[in-house]
């Protein structure tokens, strides 16, 4: 099974409250924040690695994961691709573009061109990027390829090397189960990090991965050493021949209004109930 995983660099999501707006209000500045792999993509990478390994044999690779990142060709983007390679992916692709030239329409067009070059069985990607929070590119990619898309996947099972997959996906009102015939795009939910989220027909059934609290697996030292030798192909948007016309134009950015008032530390339950009933009048 060959899987394409898109990974985006984003300003450290855990410190997003430190973002600022440029003096003319037309740009977000993330100075002082480290660039990180979009956590949603990190989870997708974990799912893709689980689909292409035998976890009972020291995670022996039985398939191929190709990473693609679209962004500036700089040390940060390269570091993030290397991080994915160190976790176990086989190869990387860096499509060079300024962040300002990208929106979901352009990203899905670029990914379509990469899919047509690489012919993967699956694309597994974050359902959203932690910066734009749009939840759009994965579904648009699927439509542009005439492929099905399964969004917010929490559990993926395949017995035939990804040709068909049974996927449980999260809804607002419960969980749906679908059977999808590949090739397909899958975006993942938080629950894809659960110990039993992936059954690939190679790893023995019932295998449980170690519990992951926040993100995907850590790279091993060996993985980090091997990643240095793995190839990263570099290409431009022009090389891929994609239409780079944007469909969105951000005219202004603003920080959210601060919450008014201070935190009142209440003494006890009686005090809390009194404040909520008589001051805030919410109960």
């Amino acid at each position: 099974m060959k899987i394409l995983v898109s990974i985006k660099r984003v300003a450290d999501p855990d410190n997003a409250s430190k973002l600022k707006v440029s003096s003319d209000g037309t740009a977000v500045t993330s100075e002082g924040l480290e660039w990180k792999m979009n956590p949603f993509d990190d989870w997708s990478l974990e799912a893709a690695l689980r689909l292409t390994e035998n976890a009972a044999e020291k995670n022996a690779r039985v398939g191929e994961v190709v990473l693609v990142s679209i962004g500036p060709n700089d040390e940060h983007t390269q570091r993030i691709i290397r991080e994915g390679l160190a976790k176990g992916a086989e190869r990387g692709i860096l499509v060079e573009s300024d962040d300002g030239n990208l929106d979901a329409g352009v990203v899905s067009a670029v990914l379509k061109a990469v899919v047509e070059k690489e012919n993967p069985d699956l694309v597994v990607m974050g359902k959203q990027a932690a910066d734009g929070d749009s939840n759009v590119a994965g579904t648009e990619l699927a439509e542009k390829l005439n492929w099905p898309v399964i969004n917010s996947a929490m559990r993926i099972t395949t017995a035939d090397d990804g040709k068909t997959l049974e996927v449980r996906r999260e809804l607002d009102t419960g969980v749906a189960t679908v059977k999808v015939t590949g090739p397909a795009v899958i975006t993942t939910s938080d629950r894809i990090l659960q110990p039993d989220s992936v059954q690939n027909g190679v790893t023995p059934e019932g295998h449980e991965y170690a519990k992951l609290e926040v993100g995907g697996r850590y790279a091993s030292l060996k993985g980090i050493m091997q990643a240095k030798k793995k190839p990263i192909d570099q290409m431009s948007l022009a090389d891929l021949g994609v239409d780079t016309a944007k469909s969105l134009n951000y005219t202004k950015y603003e920080l959210p209004p601060a919450r008014s008032g201070q935190t009142t530390f209440v003494e006890d339950v009686t005090d809390l109930v009194d404040k909520l009933h008589n001051s805030a009048k919410v109960i």
Binding site: P13, D14, A16, V21, D103, A104, G105, K127, A130, D133, S134, N135, V136, A137, T139, E140, A142, E143, N146, W147, V149, I150, N151, S152, E170, L171, D172, T173, G174, A176, T177, V178, T181, G182, S189, D190, L193, E213, K246, S247, L248, N249, Y250, Y253, E254, L255, P256, R259, T263, T264, F265, V266, D268, V269, L272, V273, L276, H277, V282, I283
Partner: protein, 320 residues
Amino acid sequence: MANVLVVAELLEGKARKTTLCAVNAAKQIAEGTGGSFDILSIGEGAGAAAGELAGYGAGKVLKAEIAGGYTCEKYAATVAEAGKGYDVLVACASAYGKDLLPRVAAKLGAGVASDISAVHVDGGKLSYTRPMYAGNMFGTVEILTDKQVVTVRQSEFEPAAASGGESPSEDIAVQSDPAADKVEFLGVEVVKSERPDLGDAEIVVSGGRALKSADNFTNVIEPLVDALGAAMGASRAACDAGYVAPELQVGQTGKVVAPKLYLAIGISGAIQHLAGMKGSKTIVAINKDKEAPIAQVADYFLVADLFDTVPALTEAVKKL
């Protein structure tokens, strides 16, 4: 002048309230630009739901009956075909809207403004405000394509009120899509609850990792939830640990809520959780650690052990 099509969201043959939030946004767009709006009722039970949706002032209600479980591949071609006659397509940014509308947009070559919190009309020109970076930034965005696709944040658009009258309805043809044959819907486990919907409850009580077990949610949190007539929510950690079902997650992923009262119990307040609840009017934190990040947004903070405090709070609420 923008003519708008609202894509309704049906659940078991009835329009979810999310549909009315989208109607509210559609009215703002239509009224601001001198246009009008219609509603598309699509899915199983679309005919009956169309009757229900006829009382909100739409020019007409389109109906497309599609049997069986929802997949975006089954619906998108029909929505896109109907959408050809409109300038703006609107749905709620629920799991459904976020799944369906981008597929429709790609069919129409339209840009998507996702999860917007406000509509602006300036000289007939539309723009939208949308929260980004887990709610730490608000961007104002214009859509540059001929057609516009918009999904709206439920907590920022009140459900439209019934306006009387009865919009005429019209059946439209269901379009086929080869991609739909690639996905077979096997089933859905819908969670039934007598409690208010998390998305539009007036009071939300959420529990976190500190609850330590599903039983403690049942025995400690749920009595308070019910005493307050509230909806129950949870942090990602509590959902991941299986204490409660994933659809109760409040945060950057999961639901964004803005009730008049939000109680965060045993939740430290990671930035991803704050993204889902900091728009609440009054926020109460109950936590042993007074330095927990939830303090950044809490109006009232009770530094205490939740296992001692919450049962006492439940009893006190019952006496009100």
